[in-house]
């Protein structure tokens, strides 16, 4: 599986619509599953204006890569791409974008979904609320 992992201070993507822009896939893929995690306007019941993310950057990138390759053993996929934004991420904007291509959809769904669970356990990235 090809992997591409990035932690960035930049806004993820360009547009804000719900439609994906790129809707093809690389050679051999029959399925692409994407997950976008978006900052919501409340955190623990309080209204917030943003979340501030910090990362232990080299370790976080390595961990993401290791988790993807580990999950690929049970859910073989062709390509996985993760972008996690750090710094202040305003409400309504994306904090993370995961895109996985596979021959069949079951593996891609499983890999993305389990990756998100593992991210929230084992990747050194933290968020803190920025109040209105």
């Amino acid at each position: 599986m090809e992997t591409e992992v990035e932690i960035t201070g930049e806004r993820i993507g360009g547009g804000r619509g719900t439609g994906g822009g790129g809707v093809g896939a690389g050679g051999g893929a029959g399925a692409r599953v994407e997950f976008v995690g978006v900052v919501r306007g409340t955190e623990g019941g309080r209204a917030i204006s943003a979340l501030r993310y910090e990362a232990y950057r080299p370790m976080a990138e390595n961990q993401m890569r290791k988790i993807l390759l580990e999950l690929n053993r049970s859910h073989p996929c062709l390509r996985a791409r993760v972008i996690h934004r750090i710094g202040v991420v305003p409400v309504g904007e994306a904090a993370i974008h995961v895109s996985v291509e596979a021959v069949h959809r079951a593996e891609a769904f499983a890999l993305v979904s389990v990756f998100m669970d593992r991210l929230k356990e084992d990747v050194p990235i933290w968020k803190a609320a920025v109040l209105g």
């Binding site: 993310y53 976080a60 996690h84 904090a95 929230k120």
Partner: protein
């Protein structure tokens, strides 16, 4: 890393998120005597920064970018990070 001549026999300790807030600093240099283990280093940090005590049960430590067991050795030049419960995504 691991070359005592260049680091004066110390490890660099990084504090993230709640650990940083608990001790009020982002990083520190800590002496690393021969035979020190990750658990010993954590105890030393809690002695210096009482605010870390409540986190002791939740925090994990990483040595040179990998999660480390408490009985794992730590060596001069290592980079050790205190990893409170994560919340990415």
């Amino acid at each position: 890393m691991g070359d005592p001549s260049s680091d004066g026999g110390q490890v660099r300790v990084l504090f993230f998120s709640g650990a940083r807030e608990a001790c009020g600093l982002a990083e520190a240099m800590v002496a690393c005597p021969s035979g020190m283990r990750i658990g010993d280093l954590l105890e030393e940090l809690v002695r210096r920064h009482a605010g870390l005590a409540p986190l002791r049960g939740q925090v994990r430590l990483a040595r040179n970018g990998e999660f480390a067991r408490m009985d794992e050795g730590v060596f001069p030049g290592d980079e050790v990070a205190l990893i409170p419960p994560v919340s990415g995504g």
